[in-house]
């Protein structure tokens, strides 16, 4: 068992423990704090997979932006941060069904696309060259991912415009 195994177990405990705490904590800000632990663990896994750029972006976007916005939103809604608030509302059955379905789809897709072959885990050929620059080229070259990349940008832009339109004060 090398150092990477120890780190893998450590990050997995961080992810799963954080995940459990997100669901069980009554206080929503504390739950958001646990979510940050989980996201940090995921970034750690990316580092173990030698995907440094992805790890940095994970911290930058998920912890630096999304988690902070979640905490911000929770703090603005006083009642939600109350400990007396029940953990479940009337939609729990729908949420459970959706979660199980999403998990099933993920398992099926991952099994179909990248089947786990027993014994070869950890023997993948090491990455060669600069993965960050290859990622950049892949995202911006027309024959690879330029189109999905731009579509995602337009989607985010339209979401931002929509938020501005909704939040804008009506001028009488």
């Amino acid at each position: 068992m090398g150092i990477s195994h120890v780190l893998f177990i450590l990050f997995s405990v961080l992810i799963l423990g954080g995940g459990v705490m997100v669901v069980t904590r009554r206080n929503l800000v504390q739950a958001a704090g646990a979510l940050i632990l989980t996201l940090f663990g995921v970034a750690g896994l990316y580092v173990l997979l030698e995907a440094g750029f992805l790890a940095a972006v994970q911290i930058l976007i998920y912890i630096g932006a999304i988690a902070i916005l979640i905490i911000f939103a929770v703090m603005l809604t006083r009642r939600l941060a109350d400990e007396q608030e029940p953990g479940l509302n009337s939609q729990w059955a729908w949420a459970l069904g959706t979660a199980v379905m999403a998990l099933a789809i993920l398992v099926i897709v991952i099994q179909g696309t990248w089947p786990l072959a027993g014994g070869v885990v950890g023997n993948a050929p090491p990455l060669t060259g600069d993965s960050t620059s290859r990622l950049g080229v892949a995202l911006l070259s027309p024959e690879q991912y330029a189109f999905p990349f731009e579509v995602a940008s337009v989607l985010l832009l339209s979401a931002m415009l929509g938020a501005i339109v909704i939040a804008r004060e009506k001028r009488h």
């Binding site: 972006v57 930058l60 932006a65 902070i68």
Partner: protein, 410 residues
């Protein structure tokens, strides 16, 4: 000491140290481990040590700016003032108020220091003297410095105090707003060096600092960096006269000091980043012959930029919150966007001449970049003047029609 090379001072010290470890009979694996540990400890100790000097220097300099003497009682010219200050802070009682969120309340001060010290891991201090030369150095710096926002937010919320919470809200709006122009201006040195690694960015400045090629980008970086540090004129998160003290109001003793430690380290760390990204880092005369000089140049540039930073801090009054946000979103962000687009085009068109080219052959490229930046600067001034003129005209129209009372209502 045989073969001790002063020119390669730091490399020589490293060799002597490694030789000492070999003499102890350690295996090569252990030596590598111990060396990494020592390097990490040194990189952590370095910013904390520099802080002691910058606190003294800054208090004296700001005193002079404000026409007073500054601390002058402890030691010669008051230069030992920090020592009793630190002793006082360390011995003060640490009070935990009753209704705070204990975990977050205790994590926040440490996190605010950790976030800025982590930046030093990718800081190229001298040739081949860098913690880790990550190929994503710049993104790493952005990622870890975003943790500082989190620290202030956690401190503000967990303190269970309305002023602390208001400060936390202000912090999020300020730091998130100014992160946008910061990232956009950072793209320019990355494009010019065509690498995200800090070391490569310094190497790429061998034929001229990026401040000559991209002065506008440097200014945007410096302004939004000042806002990220949260110092005057952007010190809205700890505005004493408005929100008592801000996010740190419920903290005492060393925990309180940790936030200030974080802020002070952040201040000169970001000056060090500006020096690295735009002013050639450790580059300077004779560095190729005497690599140890690099550290000297690096720190000299850092402290000169820090002096400018202090100058701004001592001179400018605090922004109002709407002015602060408008300045980022209505001025810096559009300018940074235009800047990125124009500089991308310029980088593509004005390809760097090969390194063998003479000094004169590189001049058209420099002139081209300077010209592009000049056009952008003039365009910005014209646009800002036009916007201000229109606003003034509108105001005059309103007050002309309804008298001055209408303006107040407007």
């Amino acid at each position: 000491m045989e073969g001790f090379d002063v020119a390669n001072l730091f490399v020589s010290i490293g060799q002597v140290w490694t030789g000492f470890l070999v003499n102890l009979g350690l295996s090569s694996q252990w030596i590598a481990f111990v060396n990494k540990l020592v390097a990490a400890l040194l990189l952590t100790a370095l910013p904390v040590t520099i802080v002691v000097f910058t606190i003294m220097g800054e208090r004296k300099i700001i005193g002079r700016f404000q026409d007073r003497l500054g601390p002058n009682r402890v030691g010669p010219y008051g230069f030992l003032q920090t020592v009793p200050d630190v002793v006082k802070l360390l011995t003060k009682e640490i009070i935990t108020p009753t209704n705070v969120d204990k975990v977050m309340y205790n994590v926040a001060p440490a996190l605010s220091v950790i976030a800025v010290i982590l930046i030093w891991a990718v800081m190229p201090i001298a040739p081949s003297m860098i913690g880790v030369d990550l190929d994503i150095g710049v993104v790493y710096f952005l990622a870890v410095s975003s943790l500082a926002t989190l620290a202030i937010l956690l401190a503000g919320w967990s303190s269970n105090n309305k002023y602390a919470l208001i400060a936390a809200f202000r912090t999020v709006s300020q730091l998130v707003s100014y992160e946008v122009p910061l990232v956009l201006s950072l793209l320019v040195p990355v494009m010019l060096a065509s690498s995200l690694s800090m070391n490569d960015i310094v190497q790429a400045q061998s034929r001229g600092w990026f401040v000559i090629l991209a002065p506008i980008s440097m200014l945007i970086f410096f302004i939004s960096g000042t806002a990220e540090v949260g110092r005057s004129p952007f010190d809205l998160l700890e505005a004493d006269s408005e929100i008592v003290a801000g996010f740190n109001i419920e903290y005492s003793g060393m925990r309180f000091a940790m936030f200030f430690l974080g802020e002070w380290i952040h201040a000169f760390t970001f000056c060090a980043l500006t020096a690295t990204l735009y002013f050639g880092g450790w580059r300077g005369p004779f560095v190729d012959q005497v690599p140890a000089l690099g550290a000297l140049y690096f720190f000299a540039k850092m402290f000169i930029l820090y002096l400018i930073h202090i100058w701004i801090r001592a001179t400018m009054p605090r922004f109002r919150i709407d002015q602060m946000l408008a300045f980022s979103w209505k001025f810096l962000v559009p300018l940074a966007l235009v800047n990125v687009a124009v500089m991308a085009l310029a980088t593509k068109l004005l390809a760097p001449p090969d390194l063998s080219a003479s000094f004169w052959a590189t001049l058209p490229r420099w002139g081209g970049f300077l010209g592009v930046n000049l056009i952008m600067a003039v365009g910005t001034f014209v646009a800002v003047r036009e916007v201000a003129r229109q606003a003034r005209r509108k105001e005059e129209e309103v007050s002309g029609r309804f008298g001055s009372a209408a303006v107040v209502q407007e």
